[in-house]
Subunit: 413 residues, 2 copies
């Protein structure tokens, strides 16, 4: 397989844009990517588009990529729509990378896009809730309700009214909370340490003009923000949002035609979780290990990382899974400020999902946009000092407790 | 890129299976493919899954492949979900082919699956209606209604009540009907010629145990079946249905480990339509031309074809687009019985979408299943005599009058 380079990347600001549709958001991100690469859209050989919820939110299923690209004059080429929940567009990137790496095509467009805000908010939550085995979760919920009613009948108490948590917030936060509690118990990690991850990411987001939230918060602010599920508070969780991101890939030998600063793809690995046995490496360890081998680097070589901080505890554990610190030492790692933008290994200088925002189908490519921008030294106030090697880690969905999709990409100048 | 072989394929019967979910259908097709290949599921390196409507029909969006494969013990590997309307699973096949052809992985599973039947039939029609630019179609319909009301107000007449065609049948049949009328006008093609395509495909379907409809029909039967949109009658149109199909791909050098009869992938090409100018080749001509070049064969070398006969006129025109006959001569081609199972170039020996059925996300892989089975001489009553080279053509969706996705694959022994 041949080497592949990113020669352009673009994104929209992430946020709540009730007046902008998928077409407008995509056009903005793609036009930014095209001008960043200095490439004419007629030169694109193929496009791969990641999106997760348009079918359920807008009714546009099946050919979302064709629909959003058509109005901006892109068509007649192969267009593939990929879905992998929150990893939909890193999956799209992976497929596009394979198109170029295999020699099938020379120039590929990758798009990630999502509109989660809708006047009818229940649609957003219902859509996000489809990133699990829907049938299995419904069965579990029905069983739990039946058990509760049975218990209540025995004691003569009225069962608690159904809070409808699944309708009003993502059930993922319940998973993350349980996961966080288990890390606290096993390794002595504290709620304050999780909160410090959020303090860092909100600080980084305050430096990023594309971030959905640009306010700085103190440790106290994070800890006292509304509780979601112990130990999570609202400011430790990624919000819903709208946005799009795009990149242009070409074969490495053509990269210099477009830019003096190509960013090379050193590894592109996709995976999923499945029935992890005690003592076995977890899916993120497995996938990142494979990516390190493919790139011929190790965690010690990384200068900048964007990871899937859907919640603050997730990022803390990812430090360990990526090998940025030892197992169980995620808490000390954030205490040491190592992952700050001016630290030895900055993580989520963009603000991450927590502060930059998380329009799910856009997130994977937006992470890659950030690494591209950082490696080229174009990240402004949030610029990491002279990074040479960067990594993105993006996760999506859950099947019976295991991650449904995981991707790790490694890039270098 | 290296050569790739199909070493196993399986499918379910197509039909109306209200008692079977996506998991059951997929498990049946995948287990058939695994035993056909004699490969253990643990040896699979990657899976690519095509589906078009599960999100809108069952609420299972985002990670459909992971969900259906998990229960049968397949996970921990990269799993990609592709969507491209009726070409969703030929797109999945194309991505899986690229995984193996590029050298990234050695053994790939491809699945196409769909459940279109639901107790609430409006869901099925709404889902199928998402294979267009939904926003654009809604705007067009609103404009047409406004114009109708304005005209009615002038004449004092009551506007015709909205028949709700889009809700009760696929709007694609209106497109196909208009297209058929234009072919009749331009080339003198007759309604009887379109009907003869349906006679042939229903005859072929009668020979196929997996077909949804197994009845033979006379020309008279087809012509007098309920009208859909002139010149289409119901028996000239593909039905909705449930079903799944799967194939196993391995690198050509490993093929003999699994079977003495591998079927090699000679070309895998995906494309889309875009603003065709008069005199320019259409998208199917373009994509098939590219596939012929890739395979180093021409239409004269083909021994068996499976094509996207969503309606009988579509198949008649595809004869011309694939170069099986000259432009405008599709009518004479079917009159000559050339595309019959015992003719010089059998088309849709499986019964095609019209008779075998069209569970949309399953169709692309089911076409490939048929070619695999035919080339291996395992097609029973519908066996084509000693075929060496076969082609599949699969189309999906429509954006402003152009096909959103098209794929052509060529296979040989």
């Amino acid at each position: 397989m041949r080497d592949v380079a990113i020669v352009g990347a673009g994104m929209t600001k992430f946020g709540k844009f009730l007046d902008k549709g998928m077409k407008e958001l995509t056009a903005e991100a793609v036009n930014n990517a095209l001008s960043s690469a200095g490439i004419d859209k007629q030169k694109l050989d193929v496009a791969v588009v990641g999106n997760a919820t348009a079918g359920l939110i807008t009714g546009q299923e099946m050919i979302r990529g064709q629909v959003v690209l058509r109005d901006m004059g892109i068509g007649g080429i192969p267009i593939i729509n990929t879905e992998n929940a929150c990893a939909s567009s890193s999956t799209a990137f992976h497929v596009a990378w394979m198109y170029v790496a295999s020699g099938m095509y020379d120039a590929a467009l990758v798009v990630g896009m999502e509109k989660l805000y809708h006047e009818d908010k229940t649609r957003s939550f219902k859509a996000i809730g489809s990133a699990v085995d829907v049938e299995w979760v419904q069965n579990m919920q029905a069983q739990a309700k039946a058990a509760q009613e049975k218990a209540a009948a025995k004691t003569g108490e009225t069962p608690a009214p159904d809070a409808g948590a699944g309708e009003k917030r993502s059930m993922f936060m319940d998973f993350y909370a349980a996961f966080a509690r288990s890390h606290m118990q096993k390794y002595g990690t504290t709620k304050e340490q999780f909160a410090r991850v959020a303090v860092k990411n909100h600080y980084h987001g305050s430096l990023n003009p594309n971030a959905q939230y640009r306010e700085e918060y103190s440790l106290e602010d994070i800890l006292t923000s509304p509780p979601v599920a112990e130990p999570l508070t609202r400011l430790m969780c990624s919000p819903i949002g709208d946005g799009a991101a795009a990149t242009i890939l070409v074969s490495a030998d053509k990269a210099k035609q477009f830019t003096t600063k190509p960013v090379f793809v050193r590894a592109s690995v996709l995976g999923s979780g499945f029935d992890r046995k005690p003592g076995e490496p977890g899916p993120t360890e497995r996938v990142s290990q494979k990516a390190y081998e493919m790139a011929g680097v190790g965690p010690e070589d990384l200068n900048v990382v964007e990871c899937h901080d859907a919640s603050a505890p997730a990022e803390l554990v990812i430090y360990e899974e990526l090998g940025l610190c030892a197992e169980g030492e995620g808490g000390q790692f954030i205490d040491s400020r190592a992952p700050y933008v001016d630290g030895p290994i900055p993580v989520n200088p963009s603000g991450g999902l927590i502060s930059k925002g998380h329009p799910i189908g856009a997130t994977g490519v937006a992470q890659i946009y950030e690494i591209f921008t950082q490696l080229r030294g174009e990240a402004g106030d949030r610029q990491v000092k002279n990074p040479k090697v960067g990594l993105t880690e993006n996760g999506g969905g859950m099947v019976k407790g295991d991650p449904a999709a995981l991707s790790v990409h490694i890039f270098s100048l």
